[in-house]
Assembly symmetry: C2
Homo-oligomer: 700 residues x 2
């Protein structure tokens, strides 16, 4: 069969190409002489086999998925466009009982594909080599954009006459043009029944920072399947393209020194190497922690099977089955024709893993970091390597784990302090203009600190103004000449499948209530009282945070008690956050209704992973966390999942131009009565005799 | 005159003693062999002279104050008890115009003293050697407790028959007893007209962690001046003293290894040394920052004259005139006779500097730290050295200053990232059981990150229970056998005298308001709009934070505009926080009414420094920030002070026993349109060739 041979050839050659590209990336991400990769020896992924039921699909397995799909009857005439091939994880019960050396639960893949404008969700059994599940359009929405979609859509305008005319009229050379396809959102029936994208263009003349040079008001609605320009819209022809001056952020392009005294070299040093180990490619062991770490096409990184050692008997105890960034919501606050649709759901629309380019050693991650690759699939179903997309490192920042001094009031002369050393797993996604940095930080005291950092470029709007005459009439402040930083929000919703000492947990709202003392009871008139309330059903756990009606939120195991009788638990500790204020019936908010509360708790359901729905692109909000939670299922003493949304309101400022200093927020997962006592009481202090002896490399 | 000679002798000998003690501390804080001091060469403070108008009083100056007071007529018969001798800072205008080499504005001291039960507030001019101001009982309240007060009060119970009887009945040997005097608060007329303190006792049998062994229910009210036990109260005679087992937190007392794999040595290394300089003892210069840093008896550390270099022209620009922790409020939530009064104001009652014992090198502060001493006065008015109470260090924690990658969607292959290096000034106060860690962290992007960490010991309550039978009836959870961790709050109010490009500033509430689109205007139904409102008077700036009615809070200079016309400014960015929920008419809340809002803005007034009043001890709330603000003075385009309160609700847990892992919260001061663009655009990345070459010291 000629067709099969051709496919086969293409398949093999693509595989070879991607493996080569993977290796090449690894050796080519050094933009400057003097940067060093400092990464461990590259891994040959072509021969890898899985070592754990949660290990991502290997190169060989992705190839097998493609082979199975190639011979699958419904695709015998036309092979679909592959948007995602991911491990279809085994049921939790199978994973929990699996021990190293046991045979694996069946290896399965979940495939999201498009064929003839329809979304296909397939389950593929790798052992029996069969498609075991196949749903067509199970909900509204399409799979995330593929690289091919993005690439094709960005070229579509160039064959449109109106576009070319407009560009010529604005005096832009087409060789200086760069067009990008932001997702179109969903705004009612006009945009249903076909996959559409908006295409916006920029000038890259004299700068790689085209983001700061929008061709304002020009927006094309493009059919992603036919690549036809469905709608050409032009306003703002009088708005100049902002200047390129001072927009280039590359180090090699800087001609002036910064206005500050230079800093001496500084580094986190570990002459004996880091204390963590990565076993079998994905199992991380450090101090009292063990967890499974992997790259994910959509979530960026996924932490699974998190266990911490009991501080008394050393047993490994379950903390979290799975944790990851499930969805984003980034609405911009401008109603213009070329702006209203900007309400991104970056995980489901673009993929945080797909957007995670190789981390820059020494600058994205310190020395002694360990780097991990991602293995994903192309639209042809071929595997490719996303190299160095996760780093893992030990951090000492000068912070104090615990301390106490005595000596002023008592006869004890005590100075005890312990340095805080932590383990960080990091990935950074460059979703178009924005860069999102995700840190999962593990502390020896049992705390997990999750942080999201925002950097990269603003999404900016061209403006006729050089100065800010009347900011009230604009959708954001002027941040450079002819550039408005449009006000927007960022929300990140985390899926936190906590399993405290086993799967069956309860969610407890420990509410601090102000009480008044009884007459004559006390010289005090008021005090706070902690009142514990166990959530029975999902609606009891739909939580909006309130400064003046505060609570702690505990995930506990009601069947596991400490020696004192307290249930073992973890609490979620919000950091500084923001809430979405949009109307609930506004289309973007409807699709991202998972941001209607900061906290939700749902019963564990393997199909409820993605807060904005499995098929997010152009989804209509029919498959979100908010919809699931509305079923109000029982969640007491059940296998339950905690969802937390952190938020940022972003009113831009001049300092965000041309690249933004990182802004960070996060939350903590913190043991409460999980350990019998402080688990790091016996930790050793740092001694001078143990620390490294360093000299300047210049003096070497 | 025999009396003068005697005083003179005492004075000289005390001085010598304290200087010796200071030096001894420096060389004796090493609790274990192998710890290294790593501090710079000790400074001989005896000969120091001031170099800057804001420099703290020197040893010689404190001596001079004492000499002046000794010959001051009203004290000719009895020398008062000195509670504080501090620099009385010159007027701001004098400090601002002073340049190095200029003659100093007159050096003055403020003295808080007690004589015959009255509070004396004195101003002493060191140049004219005269007392230039003298107020007696200017407001309710007394100066902070002195070490002599604390020492004497802790001994007072032992001469009380009831106390001795009770102790004997409980089977406690008096040699195992340790008593401490927590402040009594103020609860109406019964406790007015004399200085009182509550005395509580603990057993130190078999442990230095007496905090975990309260003798519950025994509380003595002691007159601080007569040392008479005014009231003996006993309840809870049936409550056992909690066991000493597993309470000792000292490293040398640990007999078991922690249940975790050991960590390899790790350190922040700078083979060329740190990049900061400390000039003239107090002026810190680093990267683009210059500021004045000093120890303070009450505030712990004070940062003054903070300037950052303009990123365009290199000029030093004003950011903050003065920043410090002004007051604490720590109310416990238990109405019992031995608990109701626990509502501490740690800065004004005990002094954060007074409580700051020497920092532990390598554990409280990393290698390459610089240490600074405090110079305070004893009750006799003699100078003494509080050694190593501040450390200053450069931090690299593996974080990213800014980053952006291109390559997926465009033809640019860009991987730019910059490591974040910061400068931290730290002090740690051990106020009885609690340890408070204060960090002022300076970033090269202009951001100042202020953090408060809580560690040390809980204030715990004895309980008859070994297990937690009915937590609803208790004032907190059981955290060990017979030990309740009583629920409490911590609030820290910061005085932030922002002077953005000069003294006259305005406070702007940039409110994000949800608007609905007009019919037919857009497919979007709602969006956010930033609405700027300048606070005219103090009441406009009494702010309670609201998640669903969010604002940014800017301090701007309305007369200084960027090239784009935006006013230059800084914003305060709250982190995770808590609000006080107590009734406003409850005595503790009345005294700590500065926590009624999270943000306040007052016009600059040199006498309004301490949010709980200058005389805090037993104050009645007549001299607090809330009272000042109620005057509703004009604050638009004026020299104004921002006050921010951060808070923690603390429901203890088992992990807090016997010493608490550090809990941290904070806030940021962040430039908004202060710089023309990102001030660290031109910062260099880290290069391998510049980093240190380290080996393990064990291999040396």
């Amino acid at each position: 069969m000629e067709k099969t041979s051709c496919l086969h050839f293409c398949f093999i050659s693509c595989l070879v190409l991607f493996i080569i590209v993977g290796s090449w990336y690894r050796s080519s991400i050094s933009p400057l002489p003097g940067y060093s990769l400092q990464t461990q020896k590259p891994i040959d992924h072509s021969a890898e086999t899985p070592h754990h039921p949660l290990d991502p699909l290997t190169v060989k397995e992705i190839n097998r998925v493609r082979t199975i799909l190639s011979s699958y009857e419904p695709f015998s005439f036309t092979f679909p466009t592959i948007h995602t091939i991911l491990l279809h994880e085994p049921d939790k019960v199978q994973v929990l009982k699996w021990r190293k050396g046991d045979p694996f639960p069946p290896r399965k893949a979940q495939v999201l594909a498009l064929l003839n404008g329809q979304s296909h969700v397939l389950n593929v059994d790798l052992d029996s080599r069969r498609v075991t599940g196949h749903a067509i359009n199970p909900s509204s929405g399409y799979p995330m954009l593929s690289m091919d979609d993005i690439s094709a859509a960005s070229k579509a305008p160039f064959s449109n006459a109106e576009f070319n005319k407009s560009i010529a009229a604005r005096g832009v050379s087409s060789s200086d043009l760069i067009c990008l396809p932001p997702s179109a959102g969903w705004f009612g029936p006009n945009e249903e029944g076909k996959r559409v994208v908006k295409v916006l263009c920029y000038s890259k003349e004299s700068t790689p920072n085209f983001n700061m040079r929008p061709i304002e008001g020009l927006v094309m609605t493009v059919d992603l399947d036919t690549l036809e320009v469905l709608k050409f819209s032009e306003t703002g022809g009088d708005i100049p393209i902002p200047k390129s001056t001072d927009t280039d952020y590359r180090y090699t392009a800087q001609t002036k020194e910064p206005q500050m005294e230079p800093l001496n070299p500084i580094s986190i040093e570990q002459p004996k190497g880091p204390s963590f180990r990565v076993e079998d490619g994905h199992i991380v062991k450090w101090a009292n922690w063990v967890f499974h770490l992997k790259a994910d096409h959509r979530a960026g990184l996924v932490i699974s099977r998190v266990m911490v050692r009991d501080s008394e008997n050393g047993e490994l105890r379950d903390v979290m089955y799975k944790g990851f960034a499930s969805e984003f919501f980034v609405p911009y606050m401008d109603l213009d024709e070329s702006w209203y649709f900007k309400s991104y759901m970056d995980a489901g629309e673009y993929g945080l893993g797909m957007s995670a380019l190789p981390l820059v050693p020494l600058n994205d991650c310190p020395r002694h970091s360990y780097y991990m690759d991602g293995i994903f699939a192309t639209t042809d179903g071929n595997p490719f390597v996303q190299p160095n997309m996760i780093c893992l490192f030990e951090r000492y920042s000068g912070d104090i784990s615990w301390r106490h001094s005595e000596g002023l009031l008592t006869d004890f002369q005590i100075r005890e302090a312990r340095p805080k050393v932590t383990l960080v797993a990091r990935t950074a996604a460059s979703v178009g203009n924005y860069d999102y940095i995700f840190d999962w930080e593990f502390q020896t005291d049992g705390l997990i600190n999750v942080k999201v950092g925002l950097s990269g470029m603003l999404m900016v709007k061209g403006s006729p103004y050089h100065q800010a005459p009347n900011q009230d009439a604009m959708s954001g402040p002027l941040i450079s000449e002819n550039l408005i930083g449009v006000v927007h929000d960022h929300f990140v919703t985390f899926h936190l499948d906590m399993d405290i000492d086993g799967a069956n947990n309860s969610f407890v709202n420990v509410n601090l209530v102000k009480e008044r003392s009884l007459p004559g009871e006390s010289p005090r008139k008021s005090y706070l009282k902690a009142k514990r309330k166990i959530a029975k059903t999902e609606k009891d756990a739909q939580i909006k945070l309130k400064l003046y009606d505060p609570s702690e939120f505990h995930m506990i195991n009601p069947s596991k008690r400490s020696r004192l009788g307290n249930p073992t638990g973890y609490k979620i500790v919000p950091g500084g956050t923001a809430a979405s204020l949009l109307d609930h019936d506004d289309p973007p908010q409807l699709r991202s209704a998972f941001t209607n509360n900061q906290i939700w708790v749902t019963p564990y359901n393997k199909s409820e992973q993605w807060a904005g729905g499995l098929l997010t692109y152009q989804s209509r909000g029919d498959d979100t966390l908010a919809v699931w939670s509305e079923r109000d299922r029982s969640i007491e003493n059940k296998d339950i999942v905690l969802w937390y949304t952190l938020g940022f309101h972003h009113i831009p400022c001049q300092e965000d131009f041309p690249v933004m200093p990182t802004v960070t927020s996060g939350f903590e997962l913190k043991p409460v009565n999980f350990f019998e006592s402080n688990p790091i009481l016996r930790a050793a202090p740092a001694f001078e005799k143990d620390l490294p002896v360093c000299r300047s490399s210049a003096s070497s």
